[in-house]
Symmetry: C2
Subunit: 136 residues, 2 copies
């Protein structure tokens, strides 16, 4: 989508391009026995955690090439471009790797309603346990 | 550690107790084929992502019982209480589950230098790829 045919409100998301990557990007990731790595998507501006999903080498390549967040769907066994059908697209500003190389962080601009298929902004909306307020 | 024997500066962390949990907590988690679930530790106040690690049912129980962040070390094949040796402890305020039940969020107060064994605050300090600034 270029400037000429954008929808109202999508302009900040429309002008992204490919990411500039470390040439060794595929080699520095410790892919697991299924050839995948966990990726945490975080809102680049607000910093909140949106979702956790899995990335294959091909998904990482597609992310770097397009600037969109690509993942590997373990249930469908296929590449998946976030928001392609829902419109809740993620535009990647940065990809980071953790210290032991087996987890990625996608810093994204989240378009649409949010990251969750339920319509919630974050997939982590279910509270399982809560502690007491700290006494200072 | 109780009020009587705390170290200076540790007071906000010293008064935590067990977490109040959903009674079905073990059943609602989709444990993977290794009996584990991925957990993202996030600073409860600042909201930044600190680390990603793995949690077994026993680690989750210990977390709920103590209010400290427990994980499962896949390399050492043992339960692991974050910061027990380094002092960089995590006190859990909340545990959340994602929409498909296979990822946890630990909302923590991070004590000490940070979450990473390197001394960094976050384990995600290595930048692999960066995109162009969005043109608005």
């Amino acid at each position: 989508m270029t400037g000429a045919d954008h929808l109202p409100g999508t302009e900040p998301f429309a002008a992204r391009g490919p990411l500039e990557a470390d040439p060794a990007v595929r080699e520095v990731v410790s892919w697991n026995s299924d050839g995948l790595v966990a990726a945490v998507a975080v809102d680049a501006t607000r910093g909140d955690v949106l979702m956790l999903a899995w990335v294959s080498p091909e998904a990482l390549d597609a992310t770097l090439r397009t600037g969109r967040a690509w993942y590997w769907s373990r249930s469908r066994r296929s590449l998946w471009c976030k928001g392609e059908t829902s419109g809740d697209r993620q535009w990647v500003r940065e990809v980071r790797l953790d210290c032991d190389g087996d987890a990625l962080l996608y810093l994204v601009d989240q378009e649409g309603r949010g990251a969750c298929h339920t319509g919630d902004r974050s997939c982590f909306s279910r509270r399982l346990a809560v502690g007491p307020e700290p006494r200072v």
